[in-house]
Symmetry: D2
Subunit: 456 residues, 4 copies
């Protein structure tokens, strides 16, 4: 299926050469002000043709809102979004070879294997245009996240080829606390990132060196890979669902579904695997006055009382957000479509040489920045709606009758099985710790009785 | 929700200190021979207490099949699996500290934030025991995958701390084709991997050095991270669903949902981002005689005619398997629970020192090996059932009437919009290429008519 | 798949002759007091062997809670529930015939056709025991519904064979307002219903006549059908999701999934199709002081200001609850397994006579009462969690900037398409009506500007 | 969420006064010829304005295919379909009252309660136009069902007000086998149904009397209800998934999600509840030569060897299709929007009189006919894709090793629990019956050993 999310669901459609691409976004909260400008802002950042470093393909990507919004306010019903495919020019792709040769490392061959039929665009839905629906949906999600929670999501280019923004991330965090990297995560804005156009690496020297690398490969009719780092600030605690839908699992799922992505790591990531627990563990400290949840006075989230000294976890522990900045990195391979000649084999098993004319990006990472942000927004939105639902559901329950509780616990156990020295312990959020122990038979009841007397 | 998969669905339950852990597995094909031994084989590999390098906790992990199998044959109905929690000994965890201090980098704190209530085990479902259900379900999946398609899934430890099996994976593939790494991917078996117990690195020197690293940290009451590499052989082409459910996205989702995982990369991964497309692209070559699909004579999958010379893509292009071995790497952080004292803060915001008694692994990667294999099997099973359904659905359709086709195409376009010089091209799997062009109005019909005459 | 619900999900497993039947219940709100007694109460009402009118099969149906509850309080994690199959006695079913002849109108034949394999119990999961998981899950749902919202769900037998509690329901509602039927819906309790055991028709004369019918068919070794009516009181407004997941659609889905059900109708149902709109329509009236939402002071639902004079809609309009009692009726066919001889054909296509020994109910409706209630509770729970999530999500948004709104609306339209005299009207809950009209081009902006000045 | 189906999924969007309505259809098999004419055929039958008996609203309902089809052939990717809202004329709805008074028994009030915001059209997505997406998606489904399986779906009007096509359905089936009703189910075509336009009751006298009833209520500015009966012919056996997704449950879910539907019954339905099992049960007979599966030589479905003498089950037993015609009935209430004055209460709790000008149908059932057919097609498509997937998955497994089987069974049992005289019996489709019994301990092995020797 072509949909993502359980509570905030995005279903996309469209190949790069059909009439339009778009999506249906379900479960947008009603009563939110939203207009097409909110969406265009991110779509424009995704557009190719923004500089000589990118593909010169001129797509206007004008969004048309079909439903779910009236008079600039969301109705709570599905929002259908559509962007026409205007500048298709399939002849570029067709000329000479591309219909005879599956492009190496592209989706031409696998789509034909999967469906037994090939669309004129070759790679079917495996197209950069497919991401338009994601970015449009992400723009809706991030408007809610910011308005309701002050959540900020910023991505930037952290490497191109072997040029890296920082030599080794984990060292910046573990060995040099309060490092430049940590500072960047806390302060970087989209404006800053875009000011380093076209590379989108928010660092003068880094941006310049990476731009150089891209130019070099563009001039060679070749391509080069890179990576994007993304940070999510002000996310409340409690996001992410066990066991499979851990927050990092959903982020990873989302990022690895972006075309050309080949790797994902959260927090200290692969580098962190080389450190011992005694250094890598993030010790707890009191969170202090300013915490994310305090930003919205009507917030259903209470302000967390603890935070961590370091943040090697990347804001996620046990699959659940802990209130610290969530950050992760996505690796993108070099684009498969290159102008340089390639020795390969045709659909009909004839060896030959492929030379693609057409238009293509020498490096996807600058354009991937808003796509990474959008997918992160969709994941966060899904997780936050799930957690808001839980907190809301819980808030309607009467307080727990503690004396009844102890009694129930024993009844439960004696009814169900012979008690085998089983410790019972319940800690309530913001409350006291309660521990009871039952040793089986009458004894259990006795101890439990005592526990109840002691005011548990 | 606690379930994974759309076509083969696993729903798990259980905390480490409740009565049992287990799962319900839905959509297991009917008529497959399956007994508890098939499942125990993998469960035993997951069990702790297999060597001094692992946690000495003695869990018997005896699976009890509740339903869906009769007389050793699957009925096609849900299979419920259950493993009792026998050796809980929560007092180990309780002693003095663990109920007052959330363990740094563990799930104790985030679970309390999420649910507002803490289970006696602290981290709720974020427990190694939660993976029992996954391994059991994975064992069912891999039996089907092997019986129906000859698919083999083998994982092994590829690094512990800074000790790596190979210095840099991508060099082994790109710069040294037919390398030791490539050979390992093609030949490694579970028996080989287990013969290097307890480290499970299928290399004499590597295993010895990694074992040394683990011992060192165990003796220091500390822990260390590492990584697991997994290869899937004989997977047919066409697995993975656009746009979000790409095969690598689902694998990444699955792997990042395993406790303690912090990173995922497929094929050349992060290293591959440093190479140009002209080197990184996997050129096509004829596949030769022996291809995966040929292993089962009644296979619904046809034998792919092409394969790739190199395999930097990791067996997946555009999110869809291409028939080459699928391989990926998962990074695991050092276990959070360590015996060494840690300065941290209590649930009640009091600073203090945490020293956990109890039992714990100094390194999770050897035990993670069967978990990685199981999650890979579940993802493959889900993807293969989806693709088998598609091929089966397609096979029931009548062949396409080509002459009718050309006519329809024009009608379609002239009905729907003014024709804007639109290229139409359809390639059928195993068939010839067809291209038609319509220029609008009568002209389109004319050209199309000619195209039809030309026998397309 | 064997699961039901999106926000409160129940996945069941188990055939009648495997080791156990049970379910996993996901998304139970954390912090709710729950013990096995809460569940046994309904399970006991479902049990056969409660009287001579029912099947004498003695199933103890003792629930074993595997996870998700500790010390009598829900943890918010999946609750696995299990009931062992103790008294299977398959030899009853086996004797002579049942393995040779598919029982007419039973599932023996279709299960074999579907799976290509037949479980020893014949009908696979199409067994009354499969409903144990539903009733257990429903008991959890209804505890929440009552504790959080005071919602009451009561079902009762409304017909057996041609004996009906009321001659024609719709006449009781439309032609005789304040009728006996309306009174019953408002007041009936489970205690009352059970006081008319074993028939569960809360009416002295009806219960007696229906009991007579059941006895007659039991003595003839035959069976008879009947119907169950169910009422849900105190449900808040706003439950049910367009377009497919309308509340009545989900109720119908749930009821028609109960074994032996053949029909569903809500409100005036089929009888209502015979009336004109002018009589059938439920006019609105002010709701007065006591409304459902007022029962819980911390309710996220506000008290509805309107209600309806009549309730032919059955509490649901446009698929969404309107605050009035929700009531519906479910028709159950006569049980297929009868002692009387039947001329039929064997699996091997041999004609013959089937005479089933074994144990069987002459009429399912008395035992269906708690099953109908449980499925209704699951549907309501799913719908209420969805709506609570929406209200909670909305409550975190800032108020709408009305002046900005008018401006946005025009921008939206003039950007997107040539304006075609389009009326814009937004009504906010509890607020005033706002109407703006734009006539296209400059004019639109002008009028809109005026509208904005007028304080919209 | 606004989607329906797990294997063939339809997600709809659109209010009646937004820019367009439409849907995304996922998992359409690739390689099927499909053009907009296939869809328009059914859309035209849904359109209002077809006769004086219907609403004169002139909607052209021209479908625009956005994606997933190229050159008249499905690509296997999502098909997005769109129909513009051209003739909105919201002023009709606005005039005088409709913005002040929620229409009785309409969705105006409940949508405002649900979302806290009201669209200009009042009832939000609860509009007849919302069904356009369903009909379009259904047209795709039914093309596949017919091409791959010869499945025919025909609906017709079976009652208007108190005028019924047949006095009592069940009598026509049970008491009068080979009745007029049975004949109609077997032979009725859409052409026949449409020949009785505008009422769509395929019976001269019935159509005339029902048309009279509709005219009467139209002239009174009132409305009237009715019912639609639908038959599905040539469906293979094995469709429908236990336990919740029974075929009748999914049909009921689908039908009750159609606006204005209030009741659903399958087979003998509510009438059947009045009959004893001995009469109601459908005895098995050999199916004879011509069976549904034989229509497609490449069918994955084998031809069923049995059928039933009568068909009170409505083609479904235990939730699974048995190869006989599937038929059901849907009841629709009188339309809520009437021209006649109604005493009611405004949104602001003021009593008053509502008189709706505008356009409205006096009776929905003639237009509901294609909607019922379309939803039936979507349900069948979902069920058939699920079953094809299962049969395909099963066909790839090796045959069961029978001798191994017996041994496994005993091992399974002796490992897992003390054996309690448990009967094991497996019947394979088209194979022989196998029965083994184990009495526990060594004895079991002994008997099992013997059983194995006996060639099981």
């Amino acid at each position: 299926m072509s949909s993502f999310g359980e509570h905030f669901r995005v279903t996309t459609y469209g190949e790069s050469h059909c009439r339009s691409v778009g999506c249906i976004v379900e479960n947008v909260p009603p009563g939110m002000q939203l207009d097409s400008q909110d969406i265009h802002r991110q779509l424009n950042r995704r557009r190719p043709g923004q500089s000589v470093l990118n593909s010169p393909r001129n797509e206007k990507d004008r969004i048309e809102i079909q439903s779910g919004i009236e008079n600039g306010v969301t109705l709570g019903t599905p929002i259908a979004l559509m962007v026409r495919n205007e500048d298709t020019r399939p002849q570029d792709y067709k000329r000479s070879k591309i219909d005879q040769y599956p492009r190496p490392s592209h989706a031409d061959w696998t789509y034909l294997e999967k469906y037994g039929i090939k669309a004129s665009s070759g790679g079917g839905r495996s197209s950069a245009r497919e991401t338009i629906g994601r970015v449009a949906a992400g723009a809706i999600a991030e408007k809610y996240l910011y308005q309701a929670h002050g959540i900020e999501i910023v991505a930037f280019v952290s490497s191109v080829g072997s040029e890296k923004l920082f030599p080794r991330t984990v060292d910046q965090l573990i060995l040099e606390p309060h490092s430049e990297f940590e500072h960047l995560l806390k302060t970087v804005t989209r404006e800053q990132v875009d000011s380093y156009a076209p590379v989108r690496c928010p660092h003068p020297l880094g941006a310049s060196r990476m731009g150089q690398v891209i130019s070099t490969y563009r001039d060679r009719k070749d391509s080069i890979g890179g990576s994007v780092t993304c940070v999510i600030r002000n996310a409340p605690t409690g996001l992410g669902e066990p066991a499979f839908h851990k927050l990092e699992a959903m982020l990873s799922f989302a990022m690895m579904s972006i075309p050309a992505s080949k790797g994902f790591e959260i927090g200290s990531g692969f580098d962190g695997t080389e450190f011992p627990g005694s250094i890598h563990n993030d010790a707890f400290i009191p969170s202090g006055a300013s915490s994310p949840a305090s930003r919205n006075p009507s917030s259903i989230f209470s302000s967390p009382r603890l935070t961590t000294k370091t943040n090697n976890s990347g804001g996620v522990q046990g699959g659940i957000s802990n209130g610290a900045p969530i950050y992760f990195r996505v690796g993108f391979k070099p684009p498969a479509t290159i102008g340089k000649t390639q020795n390969t084999t045709s659909f009909d098993m004839e060896p030959g040489v492929l030379e693609v004319q057409g238009r293509h990006d020498p490096c996807v990472v600058p354009r991937a920045v808003p796509i990474v942000e959008s997918m992160a927004a969709i994941v966060l939105m899904d997780a936050i709606l799930a957690q808001q639902a839980r907190l809301s559901a819980r808030s309607l329950l009467p307080p727990i009758d503690q004396s009844q509780l102890a009694l129930n616990a024993v009844k439960e156990m004696t009814i169900n099985e012979k008690c085998e020295k089983r410790l019972l312990s319940v800690r309530f959020r913001g409350g006291k710790c309660k521990e009871t122990c039952c040793e089986g038979g009458e004894g259990a009841l006795g101890r439990q009785g005592q526990a109840a007397e002691l005011g548990q």
